[in-house]
Symmetry: C2
Subunit: 381 residues, 2 copies
């Protein structure tokens, strides 16, 4: 917040715009206006066409060339939150030289934060801070080196006898193990919740949701199969599931002072990660007792026959699963509908659960920050 304030003081122009908080040091573009508009520019004097592409528009937006060789565009007020973007310079994808890069779309990609006025639960504050630790490990499943990112709460080192529950938390498609800290600010959200006494101290383990066994080939995306499986409530095994169960949980349990056992273990994820959280969580209720599904997985198949039958006996499910949490961004209208269907079916069946819709946000990180902010305080109670 202080950095933002200083940026505003130093750079604010008469038009009330300021450099995005996602900019590189001393970069004045892109700029964000108080009403959510944003201005972009790129120097490309020899290009014949420059567009703004990514999550800010359904299709690439045309930029206009000035006599100085700068292509510029001011977009109408955008949904508050974090949006990936890049320029298309005569069709070639180019990151904004003014922006930090964030891992999305399978590669480092520019991103812009459109702030939500009055909301600061995800910014660093002058409270005790946890650490985000990077931990290399050789996967028995894939035969390759991987990296876990692990949040430890404030006080972890100062209380060498304390033990902590663990949340396994996954990113979305095209992202990686850095997403939840860099785009999601998960460490700041938890630091702030903990300082306010609103959450239990916990460890958060974040890994990359992609994994292949030696020789395994990537399967082409098959939307028909996915729709069939969603309708049937099929829970699929995956190589990543094996990484979580055979590599990651043992690694976290032997490296950190965890509370062992399912009661002290949760799994959650966003978008693709929510599918993984649902499949891994429901297939391993011996290992996890809480599940969070952020903007992706729904429960619209038959609760008697689908999902390996885990919902069949509601009394048993409610006793076993301490938190079953589903969320979406308010602007994700089809998903919101599917969650209403899920909500009704779960209620009718007597399955305890929480549904949360983040007001006015889209399929982007600000929804997921708010999801986490609602989800985390309910964990490990």
């Amino acid at each position: 917040m202080l950095a933002l304030l200083l940026a505003v003081l130093l750079y604010a122009q008469g038009d009330g715009s300021a450099p995005a908080t996602t900019n590189l040091m001393n970069q004045s573009y892109p700029r964000v206006y108080a009403d959510g508009r944003a201005s972009f520019r790129l120097l490309a004097p020899k290009a014949s066409k420059v567009q703004l592409a990514g999550a800010l528009g359904a299709a690439p937006l045309e930029m206009a060339k000035g006599e100085d060789g700068f292509w510029t565009l001011t977009i109408p007020p955008a949904v508050a939150g974090f949006h990936y973007y890049w320029f298309l310079v005569d069709g070639v994808a180019v990151n904004d030289p003014g922006s930090e890069a964030f891992f999305g779309y399978g590669r480092p990609t520019s991103g812009i934060e459109i702030p939500k006025p009055g909301e600061d639960f995800y910014w660093p504050k002058d409270v005790p801070h946890g650490q985000v630790r990077s931990l290399p490990y050789l996967s028995k499943v894939t035969g390759q080196w991987r990296r876990a990112m692990v949040y430890t709460p404030p006080g972890y080192d100062q209380n060498p006898r304390a033990r902590y529950p663990v949340l396994y938390l996954q990113h979305g498609a095209g992202e990686d193990e850095t997403g939840w800290s860099r785009q999601g600010h998960v460490h700041f959200i938890l630091d702030n919740l903990l300082a306010a006494g609103k959450a239990k101290p916990m460890i958060v383990a974040m890994d990359k949701g992609y994994a292949m066994r030696p020789g395994e080939q990537a399967q082409p995306r098959d939307p028909d199969r996915m729709a069939r499986e969603r309708a049937a409530g099929t829970l699929r095994a995956s190589t990543f599931e094996s990484v979580v169960v055979e590599d990651l949980i043992p690694l976290i349990d032997r490296t950190f002072r965890t509370r062992p056992g399912r009661d002290h273990r949760a799994i959650a994820g966003l978008s693709m990660g929510s599918m993984q959280a649902m499949q891994i969580g429901l297939r391993h209720l011996d290992k996890f007792s809480s599940i969070g599904l952020f903007s992706g997985a729904t429960v619209t198949a038959d609760l008697e026959t689908g999902y390996d039958g885990v919902f069949r006996n509601a009394v048993e499910f409610n006793k076993k699963v301490h938190l079953f949490w589903l969320g979406a961004g308010g602007a994700e209208s089809r998903l919101v509908q599917a969650l209403e269907t899920s909500d009704a079916a779960l209620k009718k069946h007597g399955i305890e659960h929480v549904v949360y819709i983040s007001p006015d946000t889209a399929h982007e990180w600000h929804s997921w920050r708010r999801h986490f902010h609602d989800f985390a305080p309910r964990l490990f109670r």
Copy 2:
């Protein structure tokens, strides 16, 4: 190594090339040959000129357009090590969509690893691993949030009574606090040294070597002034020095189980970071007892009148400074010369020191990995 091996097995073509280890997942370009050649390609069917720019050549290298719209180039054998690069597409800087990005040149930039056959001290091995921790803090000096990256050695959490010495380690110009782990592999080098019993367990603190007080303006680079000061042996105060002394050291000492006091504290850095290590280290011999200068700082000014007189009394200096280490890459010929001059002057003056020249490497990270590999085992003895 295993990942590299698998990559070779899976992707090696008849020509013996394999995807660079610095590539993104499943990306087959750029490719590296056993003799150090490398092939690059970029799809840009509408571009009229594409060049390969960065640290691989003194000037941008022309790429050739194929009928399929791909621009390609194979460069002659490059010096082994890590090289930043990017494409210039009609003059616009474009990162390689096949490469990871590394923070250099003031922004996320593509990088390619040209391996040195037979050398693996900087690759992850099946040994106990330390952690690289990210730690946010609000700087009293700058008024802004900053981030320290901190390596803790294997066993740190398992030995809650052990205390550790600390090395403060800085990146070069245009880089940031991620450089030493991402490009430098400092954590793997130390893990390997520790497993072999060749170094003392230590904490390594890495911060960003840029800092401004509120309202402070960036000073334009002034090569004349720098040359004058180098000739006179001037040690300059800096805002970053204040961050190290007033923010960072207290943060590290109160957050980690450090051994307090100068005997257990060292400072080192590469290129710009070596200037900072020399200035901060020599100006604060009450705080640091060992200094490492990697590819940058030299000692060619008068040892009686320069450097605030710290070298004047050799007996006193040798008693106070446990390690004074200077290095360069063998291909940095002007710097090698300046180190020879420094070496002779220090010897003549009776100042104990180490000079190390990394065979055949340039002003890039492989020199600095080797520097660290020679420097670290000599620390805290």
